[in-house]
Symmetry: C2
Subunit: 233 residues, 2 copies
C-alpha cells in the first residue's frame, strides 16, 4: 500500500538538503541533530535491544514533549514512565491479548505482509520488551475533554521525534488503551486521567530504512478539495 519514499515526491526540485539517516553507533547518544533530518527519517521501532535508557535521557525526551502546544496552554499531558518489569510484562500481556482477541483479525489484509509481520512481532512482545514504556495520558480535569486528542498527540509526536533525535527507537501505539480501565488500574490513574498512547523507548535491534509515505501531491489541495496543491511538473 505505501508508495515510494515521500521525501522525493514532496520535494519536487524545491531545494531540499539531502537527508542524512540517523543511525547512531550502538550505545551512543548524539546531543544535537538537524531538524529536518530528524523529521524526515522518523520510523517506528518495534524490536529493541535490552540496553538501558537512563533517566536523564528520558527527562530530555519528556521535556521536549511538554513543549508541544495544547488548548488554552492547559498542558493536559501526563507521562507514566514504566520501568518496573512486572508492569511492563502486564502491559505486554494486555496488548497481546487485545491483538490476538480481535485486532489482528481486523488488520489482516489491510496491511502489507511486511508491515503486518512487524506489527505482529510488536504486539506479541516486541514493544513491551523495550526497557522503558511511556504511557501517555490526557488529564480531562484541566481542559475540555473533546480537545484532549488535539492537546496530547502533539506532545506524543515531540516525544517520538526527540527520541529519534537522540538515536533511540520508539513507536506510537494505541492498541493497549483499548483496555483503558485495566491499564488505568495497573498505573493507579485517578478518575479523569485516561491513557491515550503507549510509547516504548529503547535502542533499536535492527537498523531502519527510510519511511514510506504517499506523495504530497495526493495529500495537499489548493483552496478546495480536489484541486491539486502541486500541479504536475
Amino acid at each position: 500500500m505505501p508508495g515510494p519514499a515521500g521525501r522525493r515526491c514532496g520535494a519536487q526540485g524545491s531545494g531540499w538538503p539531502a537527508v542524512r539517516p540517523i543511525q547512531r553507533p550502538a550505545g551512543t547518544i548524539a546531543p544535537v541533530a538537524e531538524f529536518f533530518d530528524v523529521v524526515l527519517s522518523q520510523r517506528a521501532t518495534r524490536r529493541f535491544r535490552p540496553d538501558e535508557v537512563d533517566d536523564a535521557t528520558v527527562a530530555k525526551i519528556l521535556t521536549a514533549a511538554t513543549h508541544a502546544p495544547s488548548a488554552e496552554n492547559s498542558q493536559p499531558f501526563v507521562f507514566i514512565v514504566v520501568r518496573d518489569p512486572v508492569l511492563r510484562a502486564a502491559i505486554g500481556t494486555l496488548t497481546a491479548r487485545l491483538w490476538e482477541g480481535g485486532a489482528r483479525a481486523l488488520e489482516t489484509g489491510r496491511l502489507s505482509p511486511a508491515l503486518m509481520d512487524e506489527v505482529d512481532r510488536g504486539a506479541r512482545g516486541g514493544v513491551a520488551a523495550a526497557p522503558v514504556l511511556v504511557v501517555v495520558c490526557g488529564d480531562g480535569r484541566v481542559t475540555f475533554a473533546p480537545t484532549l486528542g488535539a492537546s496530547v498527540f502533539p506532545a506524543v509526536q515531540n516525544l517520538l521525534l526527540a527520541a529519534h533525535a537522540l538515536g533511540l527507537g520508539s513507536t506510537l501505539t494505541t492498541l493497549p488503551v483499548l483496555a483503558g480501565p485495566e491499564l488505568s488500574a495497573l498505573l493507579d490513574l485517578p478518575d479523569g486521567v485516561e491513557p491515550l498512547a503507549v510509547v516504548p523507548l529503547g535502542h533499536a535491534a535492527t537498523p531502519l530504512g527510510p519511511p514510506r509515505r504517499r506523495p504530497l501531491a495526493e495529500k495537499a489541495h489548493r483552496d478546495r478539495y480536489g484541486v491539486p496543491f502541486l500541479p504536475e511538473q
Copy 2:
C-alpha cells in the same frame, strides 16, 4: 496559570545545551535549524504580517507533516492550503462567530489576561489574516475513525515545528472545526473527510518570548501515578 519556563525545570542539571531562540530577520528563511532549539522554543503566533509565504516553503512544511506516524501507516491526513482571500475571510468570519457566540464566554476566567488578549485578537481576525490557512483534515475512509486524532495531530505538530524551523509563525486552532459542516462546505470536502484543525502560516508580526510550561516534575510519574519521576534534588 502557566508557570516558569519548563526548560529550566525539566533540565535540572542534566546537561542541556543552551537553547537559542529562533528569531529570523524579517523576510529571511533559514534552511536548517537544530532539532531541540526548534522544539524547545515553539510558540503560538496569532498576529501576522501580510508578507507572502511561497508554495515551495508550504510544500516543505507539508512534506514534513506527511512524515509523521499514523495508525497502520494509513496517512489519513488531508491538507487544504487556503490562499483565496474570500475563503480566508469566510473562515475568519466563521471563527469570530463561534468565538463571540459562546467560546469567548467559556474561556473568560480560565485564561490569564495576557493569553486571553492574545486568543481574543486571534479569534477576531488575527489568525485569518495570515496569508495561508492550512485546514488539516482526517480521512475516515482510509483508517478506523476513532484513531483519526492519533493519526492526524502528530502531522499537525510536524507542520507547526517545520514552520517554526523555517522562521515562520503558526498556531494550532480547533475552534473553527466546531462548525465542521459549514467549513466542509466551504472547502468542498467529500463525505468521510472531516476538518480537525486550522493552522495559519505567515511571518509573525511581533517577536515571541519563550514558551511557558509547567515543570516536568508535575507531569511525569514513575511506574504509577503519584510517584514522582524526578525526585527532589
